[in-house]
Symmetry: C2
Subunit: 413 residues, 2 copies
């Protein structure tokens, strides 16, 4: 954290101070095939050029493959076992209440963005939804605002005001492709006007929850992105792009959602109150996925635990059931922020509590969602070649700042 050193340290990792501006983009719900198909359709010429001349890798995101745990992992450079954010919700056993983790008080590690700000770098972060802003901007001396509340940004709270004037766009709907476009547009304008040393742009997966890779709407979204990335590149930035998680169809062939209602199943076998199913995808914005993801955690007292685990594992649609200890080891989670069991749905199946608790009326197109292991593979892309990355190193999406700052080869121009 020394402001005079050549490197900045955060959570035990060292990051070189950037010589050119570094922009890291987290494209929410970016299954790699979205980019592949947009390139195939000929609507993403910059992506095509960037990946031919730069670097195209695949990385593992954090499971649960949800937005908050992954965005926080990316800006801290460490997994949830260190930073504590394992989902949007956990059950506080002692207080006997379900707790939402959008608040920075649940964050157990500083962000590298804050560390760079502390070290004298100019740092900016732009998120699509405001729910992420407070987590990502925690302790940050710099610019941090959301597209959703861009009109409310003040110098005191966000390090910037008059954002709509800067960007030249109105505040978009929270359920729209434009909410993400605003993030990119803001990133380009910030780079032009303020030239921050380090910038983090994080979009929302409204389009990916609705549209399959290669469809017209998905291609239009990636074509939009392609244009802004080309501008960031032309402005001389080192661009790193990854995703918080992938995205899979979660339906049968007819397009009906494949939902396994776990609380219902468990109540009918073990009695009401014997188990508590928590869905860490739940947050205030659930219209586009009905709070249905492929990851659930179960609180269940002994001695029933093993019996419950066996019953869950036998249900069609369940890919894996592990104990808290196994989940902590395999997925690097914080033991006090997950239940006694972790259940993961297969690539077509989402996990619910009970039918009455999920409003599916917002699902106007076949459900696509995430949360499981099947959405763990994400793109890890750079507009530069990389050097010094060990062969067979398991790459994570939260290595993106390390790779952009420590391994990207300077542009040859």
């Amino acid at each position: 954290m020394s402001p005079h050193a050549e490197t900045v340290q955060a959570n035990g990792r060292h990051y070189a101070k950037p010589r050119a501006p570094v922009v890291v983009v987290c494209v929410d719900g970016c299954e790699p095939d979205y980019i592949t198909q947009a390139i195939q359709a000929g609507v993403a010429p910059f992506f095509e050029r960037m990946l031919a001349n730069g670097s195209s890798l695949i990385a593992d995101c954090v499971v649960p493959s949800f937005t908050n745990p992954n965005n926080v992992s990316i800006v801290t450079g460490v997994p949830p076992s260190v930073h504590g954010i394992c989902g949007n919700y956990f059950y506080d056993v002692e207080a006997d209440r379900e707790v939402m983790m959008n608040d920075p008080q649940f964050l157990r590690a500083p962000t590298l963005l804050a560390a760079f700000g502390e070290a004298g770098a100019m740092v900016a972060a732009v998120t699509a939804k405001d729910k992420l802003r407070t987590l990502l901007g925690h302790g940050l001396k710099g610019i941090c605002f959301s597209a959703e509340k861009a009109d409310k940004a003040t110098l005191a709270e966000c390090g910037i005001d008059k954002v709509l004037e800067l960007v030249g766009m109105p505040v978009p709907s929270v359920y729209s492709a434009e909410l993400s476009e605003f993030v990119f547009a803001a990133g380009v304008r910030l780079l032009e006007e303020r030239r921050p040393d380090l910038m983090y742009l994080s979009t929302t997966d409204y389009v990916q929850h609705k549209c399959a890779p290669g469809t017209a709407e998905a291609n239009a979204f990636y074509a939009m992105m392609d244009g802004y990335l080309a501008k960031l590149d032309a402005l001389g930035a080192v661009v790193g792009l990854t995703a918080d998680h992938g995205m899979s169809p979660k339906t049968d062939a007819a397009g009906n959602p494949c939902v396994l209602y776990l609380q219902q199943e468990l109540d009918s076998r073990f009695g009401a109150g014997a188990t508590r199913v928590i869905l860490p995808i739940t947050d205030p914005y659930v219209v586009h996925h009905g709070a249905l993801g492929s990851f659930a955690t179960i609180y269940v007292e002994q001695p029933a635990r093993e019996q419950v685990a066996r019953a869950l594992a036998a249900l069609p649609g369940v890919e894996m059931v592990v104990t808290r200890e196994q989940a902590v080891e395999r997925f690097e989670l914080a033991p006090d922020r997950i239940g006694d069991l972790v259940v993961i749905g297969d690539h077509l199946t989402v996990l619910g509590t009970s039918g009455a608790k999920h409003d599916l009326s917002g699902l106007t197109v076949p459900l696509r969602s995430h949360g499981g292991i099947s959405e763990q593979k994400v793109p890890l892309l750079f507009n530069r070649r990389l050097q010094g990355v060990a062969p067979h190193r398991r790459l994570r999406n939260f290595d993106v700042f390390d790779l952009a700052l420590n391994h990207a080869v300077a542009a040859s121009t």
Copy 2:
């Protein structure tokens, strides 16, 4: 096998004799989203109606999620542990040679098609490629031909001749969408002209290896299929549709294939000759996938086995490494037809032997392939409602004849 009973028995399962013609379709490489997206695009009106009025289920195919093991499972009603076909290739340890299993001599169970023929039913089977014809038609008193060699079909060998006249199409290229269209066209003409009691139609996955669900070419293929299925339905057939396996993109975001060359990796660590990697996807038709799938089996003598397993499990791209015994139990395989270890690639990764042995020059578009657990979920569809299927029964694609014959509700007309 009694010709006078109301049911026909094959491999321990009982099948009711059909009152209306039953047509079972195996759509090669049919990830469920192909159908969902075609319906969404408005090009599959019959699928939409059929799934609204009939049944739409998801089933597990056999792993390795390859064509031969699954087609054979479907026509025998049992897994590879019974019928013996675990892939296209195995290594005969005693003879020290790699053996192709396209020949019926490797089949350890009779087909239900043959049993129905024996019981006096009129049975027809049409495959896209000729490689499947001899396996599926083994012991069959009835009609059995391939689109690939439709012009060569003789009464003596195929139970039918003059197929091109019947179908009214020329013999298509073996690498084409038309090869599958020929299968459907033949099915409709056979139903019109001969009205078999039981018919099996099996297509090829040329289109699915090239095109993502929802893209124009994929939608055109499913629109073609939709028209023929509507005709089969209009002719009064009970239609059951499933797939041999799903299909996943096997590339990074740039579209470069994600290949893990296992023999290369193992030779560099354990020395040449210490291990033998067999890829059971290999067959004479590899242009569209370069013999790259997500399943491999390894022959390795003790005492190195455990060390090899650990080395494989640590490679990025590997989803699972199991011993022969574990694979036999979990995937219901025949122990003498697989190696000492089974390796499964993740949903974006295919497994090769060594770079020099795979010709990727035929990959004109980003690789899509199968073979792993990520391609195990397939559609299981009927143009009838089903009754008497136990809740939470794990459905398999090789239950399709059971469900069509024993559980489909008669049409109300």
